[in-house]
Symmetry: C2
Subunit: 503 residues, 2 copies
């Protein structure tokens, strides 16, 4: 492993891949002091006030004269939080689209409405925690034996959560929850959906049907415990309803579908100093490949792009898309302030210890998952993603809440980078996990699909690792099980973002 | 069934138990118009400005001259929201305590620290959603076969939730979650506890151990997925750890314990017009009987006593207890305002349609669950309840979040009244469900333990119904299964109150 890593030829800092003594050779210079692993070294002199560049981006200014070989960190870096004058569409990279006739394909489930699934589940969706046990029991009734005659059905999944009542009946929180339910109801990975409620909850199933014009059908049915009168009868009736959906669901067959039908949730959790250097850029490269195929990447986790949103507005295809992103940033400032928190405690002490100096540097690392293509759409949490290309969805950084929104928005695949390690998995869209470093990959090899740590430990190129991830998208979309999927994860990770007061 | 019900001899209104035509005989008067079921009728003339009394309490003032037989509702009732000058301890009813030698007993599990359990579970408690699947798999490994040699162990339960990260590391939300975990860790219904985390979450298990001085022991162990390195190994190690607790847990034996060791969570959900007339007062009477035995009742659901808190401060044993309650009310006003909600939209349109006229009338109905004895303590959400007698715990009204706090506070039994019907159940403390009306009871007989509707439909007295509930407390505490328990409910209803922003 090389002692340092350079992220762009134009950068004037490189990152130490291990702790370096004073006097260590770093490119053409020598370190002037001890450099902790993950921290930055100046590769040329930077005069006071001069720009510090990493990822080919400005991450701060020299607070003092910095000599070549100096440790560059909070002690000699200044972050100028200029009131941002956002630019819109000033950094639009031309995307060379792969001609339609030469596009990659995967084996997917084409649904009647034209959407394409990567899996074929029947979902039992709950409106409120009060129907959680009922939904679990209904889904639990469909083990391998019950499903033996339906080889094309991947399973019956209960989507159970802790909210749905004791909440305001309008506003951000209510609307977000209804969008999540709607999103799971129409998800292309679902061949059938049964909604189960209690009956008196705030999050009324009937309101949802009305708001979104949903109609009951053989593969979309709803029921309430109070209407059916009792838990046992609800479970029995629910099992009957799901059983009646199985033959229909089993008729679905995989067929070749263009990669443009893939919508991949870009996610990170348990990040470390290498996330922004290995796994996130590699996922970004995979996203670029997908976008060139006409597919869609969905970046999310608004708190993690905070402070770098001007880089995304510059990539916005038009002013309207950019303004939506700025609107989300303002909403988050209000949301955290109202809740006596702050968006500004970034980078955290742990981040700083790991070598992240400014909010820009941190957010650049997270945003690297989104590659380099233009930003074609910005969506509310769990809103249907309609644009192709690179898009953004509002969400918290918290993994299960963020991914729940991305899946509700239509993502049929999830790619999740992690440095500390994670046992995350999701249904109905499977999660591919990418390790940022070889050490964690070695320890959690049963949980990790890809080791992006080889970009450091073995000098594997960004292009090579990005392509490896992209090709795994196609294989997993076609039915190959990801590691988390093989372990059966995804039954307990459905967490709609709960926004308002619980009353 | 009589056409009306009178709640106190001093009341000047009665409540219609069914829709009454104009001219219907009601006590000594005749109705002057159509009266919907659940609505009130004046049994004497009330001059403009005169007090309207129900539950022996002032619920409002006559806005116009009201004639005997008139419908009394929002059209002729005025609510004067005088800036409340709280009185403290001015309404302390003398409790005739049952002498210790003559107290009732139940068969409970006496723990080493002196606390008494009503069940004997092993708990797998999660710090964050990221360890949810791991915890479920560990608990799922202990089916009837695995437990056959341990007849005194009621089961292995996973307590899994949607929060634990993407949150501030201090403040109300964080502290509430840590109290919940601490409460489940020390609950007397748990013979052993295994805590499972991911490792990098905000809600660190280690911080909890430090904050509460918890020490690892053969029956209290912790582990992190990142530390163990991977899901499969975590599950295997977790199963081993639980298995090692089984022989110890199995040594616990039921023995006679005084009723003073019972701590009952008083809860309502899916309320209707009869809640405040049948089931809630009956549960309040049972609570009075329990308090006379030296036991504890824990009322909660702060939003549902809002506007009637002055009646509870008047019952507070001292100024300090009363001030804590007033502090909670102020906190809730701030919490809902910050979240763009309001405490003041009570009674709701649905409540009014059902006959509830003022916030006082509504809150009196909910508070009736707490009986009539002095208020001996007021607690934060999930805080250990140390006082004996009638106490109050801060919580939302939302059933699973409220009960989770009550159980964390030490409740070893839950009593839940419902009008619309509910399939709620809880672990490790079992839930007894009381129906407010005979119609719903008849429809959900497999879910309901007690029919308080017979107080209307068959004229069963408050005392008789209250004693029936109290005696059921003793039997269920001794091991008799409640209806929800027999159905196995309680595995999916653990919902820590999530207070702050999700980030
Ligand atoms: Ca993240
Ligand atoms: Ca995340
Ligand atoms: Ca079990
Ligand atoms: Ca209630
Ligand atoms: Ca409740």
């Amino acid at each position: 492993m090389k002692p340092t890593v350079r992220l762009d030829p134009s950068d004037n800092v490189v990152t130490a891949t291990r702790a370096l003594e004073a006097g260590a050779a770093v490119e053409a210079v020598a370190t002037t002091s001890l450099i902790p692993s993950g921290h930055k070294i100046a590769t040329e002199a930077i005069p006071q006030g001069g720009p510090i560049r990493k990822y080919a981006q400005l991450i701060g200014y020299a607070a003092t004269d910095i000599a070549a070989g100096d440790h560059v960190h909070t002690h000699n870096t200044e972050f100028r939080n200029t009131e941002q004058a956002y630019e819109f569409g000033t950094n639009l990279r031309n995307v060379e689209m792969v001609p339609e006739t030469r596009r990659d394909t995967f084996m997917g489930y084409r649904r009647e409405n034209g959407s394409v699934g990567t899996r074929n589940y029947i979902a039992v969706v709950t409106s409120v925690n009060c129907s959680a046990t009922a939904a679990r029991r209904i889904a639990d009734a469909f083990g391998p034996e019950e499903l033996a005659d339906y080889p094309n059905v991947d399973g019956v999944v209960a989507f159970v959560h802790g909210t749905g009542c004791g909440m305001a009946g309008d506003g951000d929180g209510f609307e977000a929850l209804q969008r999540v339910m709607w999103g799971y109801a129409r998800h292309p990975n679902h061949a059938g959906v049964l909604m189960v409620g209690l009956g008196c909850e705030m999050n009324q199933i009937d309101w949802l049907l009305e708001a979104y014009g949903l109609k009951q059908s053989p593969t979309f049915q709803t029921m309430n415990i109070q209407g059916v009168a009792g838990l046992r009868k609800t479970i029995e009736l629910g099992i009957e309803k799901v059983r009646s959906m199985l033959p229909i669901a089993n008729e679905a067959k995989r067929e070749p579908c263009p990669a443009s039908e893939l919508m991949v949730a870009l996610q990170c959790g348990g990040s470390d100093a290498w996330s922004g250097i290995t796994a996130n850029p590699a996922l970004g490269y995979a996203c670029d490949l997908l976008v060139a195929q006409g597919g869609t990447g969905v970046l999310a986790e608004t708190p993690e792009i905070y402070g770098a949103e001007h880089l995304l507005t510059a990539r916005a295809i038009d002013r309207k898309v950019g303004d939506r992103l700025v609107g989300l940033i303002r909403w988050w400032e209000d949301y955290t302030a109202r809740n006596k928190g702050s968006m500004d405690n970034n980078p955290s002490p742990g981040n700083k210890k790991g070598g992240l100096t400014t909010i820009l540097e941190k957010s650049l690392g997270a945003a690297a998952k989104g590659g380099t293509t233009p930003l074609t759409g910005v969506y509310k949490y769990a809103e249907p993603v309609r644009a192709k290309g690179f898009t953004f969805m509002d969400s918290p950084g918290y993994d299960p809440a963020s991914v729940t929104g991305q899946i509700a928005g239509g993502c049929n695949l999830v790619c999740f980078t992690t440095g500390r390690g994670s046992a995350f998995g999701s249904k109905p869209a499977p999660t591919i996990k990418v390790a940022t470093n070889s050490e964690m990959y070695g320890g959690m090899i049963e949980d990790m699909d890809v080791n992006a740590g080889t970009m450091l430990s073995e000098g594997v190129s960004l292009e090579e690792k990005g392509r490896e991830i992209y090709e795994l998208f196609l294989r997993v979309a076609s039915g190959e099980q990801s590691k988390s999927e093989a372990q059966g994860l995804g039954d307990y990770e459905f967490v709609p973002w709960q926004i308002g007061a619980v009353m």
